[in-house]
């Protein structure tokens, strides 16, 4: 469903990505791993349209998206979370999820201000769907609290919930387990699986927690210094010499 073809990107003189190609199958969990500075987040930012690639192309369900701005990409069905949590801190947990319903709803300024019957109906459905999502991610008990008052683990979960509210076909998770303890990471893994199996959403995950990656991923792509050094199933990746060298260093280093 997502085809990444020969993506290149540099910042100033620094080459962040060079000729990166791989593809993602529908209803799978794919992981993108690699040492710090390998270009993983850069690639997520390109896929989600925060900035365009210098070279190459990305197609999503057959349509080229590499030149679209992030608003349009989000509306095409790609949602994401952020490595540095980007919640709407002055809004409640429930409201954060409700914002996620934006692309699927219509009410404008004037009809909202006058609270027309159509608006009231739409608001009710936004609320109900958002409450369901909160329930499914286990944050119902926090719904009226400010999102900024949540502990980091719950903030990351909330970001996933907010992304789910947009009803994405592809969900990009940027280090969802960072800052989570072992127990939280385990339930996060369960949740990601559930999202794939129950909501039929494809997932691309950038993650450093190898335990989590190996446990839940169908496919893994390994980046090092902006280049793809390996692709395969978790067991193939674990045996791959180039990957082991990249993580542990080789004697020439």
């Amino acid at each position: 469903m997502l085809n990444i073809k020969a993506i290149g990107k540099s910042f100033g003189g620094l080459v962040a990505l060079n000729d990166v190609s791989f593809s993602i199958e529908e209803r799978t969990i794919s992981a993108l791993i690699g040492p710090n500075g390998a270009g993983k987040t850069t690639l997520l930012n390109i896929i989600s349209g925060i900035f365009p690639p210098d070279t190459g192309d990305i197609s999503f369900s057959g349509i080229s998206i590499s030149k679209l701005p992030s608003t349009k990409i989000a509306r095409a069905g790609i949602s994401r979370t952020f490595q540095q949590v980007e919640l709407f801190g002055d809004m409640t947990v429930l409201e954060n999820i409700m914002v996620g319903r934006y692309p699927k709803t219509r009410a404008g300024f004037i009809s909202s201000g006058l609270r027309l019957p159509s608006v009231i109906r739409e608001e009710r459905s936004i609320r109900n769907i958002s409450l369901e999502i909160l329930d499914s991610i286990g944050l119902s008990h926090r719904k009226h609290e400010l999102s900024s008052s949540l502990p980091l683990g719950e903030q990351r979960i909330l970001e996933i919930g907010r992304a789910l509210a947009t009803e994405p076909k592809l969900l990009l998770l940027d280090e969802p387990a960072a800052g989570l303890n072992i127990k939280e990471t385990r339930s996060l893994g369960e949740m990601i699986r559930r999202i794939r199996d129950e909501k039929k959403i494809t997932i691309l995950l950038v993650e450093h927690d190898m335990d989590l990656v190996m446990r839940i991923s169908n496919r893994i792509t390994v980046l090092n210094f902006g280049e793809v050094i390996a692709k395969g199933s978790p067991s193939e990746i674990q045996k791959n010499h180039a990957v082991i060298a990249a993580y542990l260093g080789t004697e020439e280093d």
């Binding site: 349209g49 608003t71 002055d90 409201e95 319903r101 300024f109 992304a163």
Partner: protein, 263 residues
């Protein structure tokens, strides 16, 4: 302005447009006051679009300066081309709705507060709806807003238009109340006052705006004895409020009462 986190220093421009357009249309072209007021709001909305499209690409101080220049341009236009030039003009008809003239202070009081009530209700509805949540989201994180599919630029333009239309209505109400207007009422000082009302009351709270406006309107009456030094007091009030309650009075009070309730 507050909810979307954008600072405009050009509100006097829209206020002036509202006052002048509806005054000129009703006094010189004999249009019914209601029609004149609505026409002024439409003109203000178009002016807001013209200003918004180039300037909303700017952020923070740059946006403030762009809107400031807009206010100054409108003021210069009123001075040069407005009826009566810098000395303004009078005999503006009183506000009337279907033949009922709001010509006494008391009736005007009800008219103005009726408008305030309507605008407050409209704004409350808006804030607690899809569009309003989007505006607040924008204030929180533009990056995440885009990732959630919010049409950031369109939202900014719309909220800008809305604030221009509000200001225009305020201008019209003013013109048809005092029945005499001159460009000196529509200067940067007024824009700054509006901003002060929002900041002192609480920029992210609608009641803040109301409380702020009441305070800032009463202040000059209390400052009569200071005469021309009142500007210094304004500055002092703003500085102190930014030092001691940066979020504004109303959010401060909410915070305090919440603390009392849940120690």
């Amino acid at each position: 302005m507050g909810y979307a986190g954008q600072v405009s220093l050009g509100q006097a421009g829209f206020y002036g447009i509202g006052a002048y357009i509806s005054a000129v249309l009703s006094q010189q072209y004999g249009l019914p006051v209601m029609m004149s007021v609505l026409s002024a709001m439409i003109v203000a909305a178009f002016a807001a679009v013209l200003l918004a499209v180039p300037s909303l690409r700017l952020k923070g101080h740059y946006l403030a300066v762009a809107t400031l220049s807009f206010g100054e341009i409108i003021n210069i236009i009123l001075n040069e081309w407005g009826p009566g030039g810098p000395s303004g003009f009078g005999d503006i008809p009183h506000f009337d709705i279907l033949g009922f003239a709001f010509d006494s202070t008391t009736s005007y009081f009800y008219l103005v507060w009726g408008c305030v009530a309507f605008i407050l209700l409209f704004s409350f509805n808006l804030i607690n709806s899809r569009a309003g949540r989007a505006l607040r989201a924008l204030h929180g994180s533009e990056l995440a807003s885009r990732a959630m599919g919010l049409d950031v630029t369109a939202l900014k333009i719309k909220v800008f238009i809305l604030s221009a239309v509000y200001a225009s209505l305020a201008g019209s109400l003013y013109a048809h109340y005092v029945t005499f207007i001159s460009p000196s009422s529509f200067t940067l000082f007024y824009s700054v006052l509006v901003l002060m009302m929002a900041v002192i009351g609480g920029i992210t709270n609608l009641w803040g705006a109301v409380i702020g406006s009441v305070l800032i309107t009463i202040l000059p009456e209390l400052l009569r004895s200071f005469q021309e030094f009142d500007v210094l007091v304004y500055g002092l009030v703003l500085t102190l409020s930014l030092m001691f309650f940066r979020k504004g009075l109303v959010p401060l009070l909410i915070e305090r009462t919440n603390k009392l309730r849940r120690p």
